[in-house]
Assembly symmetry: none
Homo-oligomer: 213 residues x 4
DNA sequence: CTTTAAACGAGACGGTACGTCGGGTCTTACA
DNA sequence: TGTAAGACCCGACGTACCGTCTCGTTTAAAG
């Protein structure tokens, strides 16, 4: 009789525990970081989350899916940046990404991406995070164009690829010597990189020297 | 004048089967390619190699180590290239690497490198293959300098990082849609990339434009 | 007045398969009889019982314990006998025991008893079967006394010991020439033995002759 | 030219180490007593004996045979006894045997006899020790007959069977509560037993009461 | 002295079972 | 209907031992 609200028709039976999903994801990521991929166990996750195995299997179909989800759940916000200049934005973007990859969870995202590609998993998984980064870069470049900076649309995609690729290489090289890499080092490396690539983004950079060949 | 008695003192007991190591590694890589990482089983490898489990465990301490070794054993020769010009060499190098990464074994090398970095494994594992690539690039650049091409030593390392990084990104993007990527596509992508980055390697490219900011 | 609520609080979780225990024990004894003690294998038992190995290990801690239990489970009923006379009862008792020991399962009981004594196992194992025999003998003698037969309580225990001991010796001597020992032979041997020892059970047999010495 | 002596034609090649056999047997029995039948290992024996596995396999065909031999090698001398009287001899014999069975090595002999019977091994194994005992008893009785003691040849075998059987039962009952059973207890038990059975050996014991049956 | 032949230690080999552990499914009693 | 508990079948793990094999070395006797 007109309870009015569209209150989603509550299904019968015991309602799902509200916090279960979060508790499981948290437990999962912790287990992964502590014990690694091969030590990552559904039993272990359920135990740590204080939850029955069936509660896990009710939400995720298998071990791998849970692993992926738990990592992705943590690699959230690639906050948008806006420093007012293209160079500043690109540096900020790079620093964000390098910082992300040097963090255990961020690096885990890379691991999973690679694994997902290898096992031919769903597009979502393989490209989820990468897309977020790409979109952020697109935004920055679009804004630059609006501001009148002479961005060359022809090289744009390739330069972004180089930028992110180089940062990934750096992350692989540094590994996870966790604290060793100070904030200053990170910023310096990114500035260097952006300053190297920036000319390629600007209109007046003439196409390759080409003649001889 | 005496053979110098340097003859390595043979250890006692029955000598190890000479071919066992190779047979196991071959069986291992085959199992890996057929069944994937999670279906990779010591029992299976031993069975396929026609060898007892103990013979495997005598040489490798555990499943993971064998997996890594068997993959690395296959990612051997990054053959040196010499086309006569810097541009040609870089293209050849890039094509080699992209082709390598699009091959199951090559991609597996990437996977393992990432895993190894994550678990803080031995330097050898993490950098073995990467170093070979880096050395090949060094050679190419050194030769270009000898020929008198105006290579800028200041940007060299970073440009190589960009090149390899971008190729890795491409490999991740294409995934293993194995046959989808024809030789032509590969070459085209590499040429494009090299032509984008080459100017940054040449002396007369002035350091970052920088003016304001 | 209340059912007393003594109802054993059912433990949570899926209840154990009711028939698993029996199936495993049956499979175990069969494997034992077919393949002998050294061919007795947990894997084999599980396979034959159509059960997972973990289901076995959930109930028995290891191979040996399962072997003992499965044999003991079969050496059940030492049926009571009542022929109306002491001599008849003793003969029946002896025949029962000799027949039991000449049967594979019965002999296995002897083996296990000896092994259990050697390894200092639980009392139950070492004396379980022996006690049943002893009790049966006690019953027979008690009944004889009730009937008025002049049983000498002083020699009773020792005579029973002699009787069972001699039968064990016979079993060891005959070994398991399974069919070789016909029912007639068994009975004859037992009659002979009982007739030898019976006088020692009766009151009027005076204690050892002793005189000189 | 008749060197006369039957000097066993020495075979060529390096002669067998003289002490190896003994060292192996000693190591074997020690391992058996320490670790039990299932922990008895050829590798372990060889290691403890300071000998290569091949040296063991050169002398014994397999684990079980070595186990049997090593135990039998220790259950040597059932020294003959001669106290001057039948009763004294029988008591001495019984005490010897009970003492033997309460000793770890002696009990092991019993274990092996049982096992050997069960697995239908060679006669020698199954009856080796038993025969020695039987022969000793035969000697004692023969001597008594010579001395003119009225031994009944008809009951002789069965009485000996009872005697040894009863002693075996006692050994099984006492188990290996090693020190618990003092020398005095052993002797007392044997005297009691002999005094119970002795009358059955003497002529004047009339045959079973029989009539009713 | 040299040859021949066996014993010896060491330890690798192909198998096979051990007892443990995890995956993913199922079944119960409660909530 | 969800949940915790936990049993279920399966199969891999890494270890240990079996009995066999292959080495290089040692030891005597025969030539």
């Amino acid at each position: 009789m007109g309870d009015g609200v569209t209150a989603a028709r509550r299904s019968p039976g015991r309602p799902r525990r509200a916090d279960a999903e979060r508790r499981i994801l948290d437990a999962a990521i912790d287990e992964y970081l502590e014990r690694g991929a091969s030590g990552f166990t559904i039993d272990g996750v359920a135990r740590r989350a204080g939850v029955g195995k069936s509660t896990v299997y009710l939400r995720w179909p298998d071990r791998d899916t849970l692993l992926v989800d738990s990592v992705l759940a943590r690699s959230r916000a690639i906050e948008d940046v806006d420093t007012g200049s293209l160079r500043g934005d690109l540096v900020a973007l790079s620093v964000n990404m390098l910082r992300f990859l040097l963090d255990p969870v961020g690096f885990a995202t890379l691991r999973l991406t690679v694994e997902a590609v290898a096992s031919g998993s769903t597009r979502e998984v393989t490209t989820g995070v990468a897309d977020r980064h790409r979109r952020a870069a697109g935004l920055v470049l679009a804004r630059a164009a609006e501001r009148g900076e002479p961005v060359n649309p022809g090289t744009q995609a390739r330069v972004v690829e180089c930028l992110y690729g180089a940062i990934t290489m750096k992350a692989l090289a540094h590994g996870l010597e966790t604290d060793a890499t100070s904030e200053a080092t990170i910023v310096a490396a990114c500035v260097e990189l952006v300053d190297l690539l920036l000319p390629l983004l600007l209109e007046h950079v003439r196409p390759p020297p080409d003649p001889a060949r």
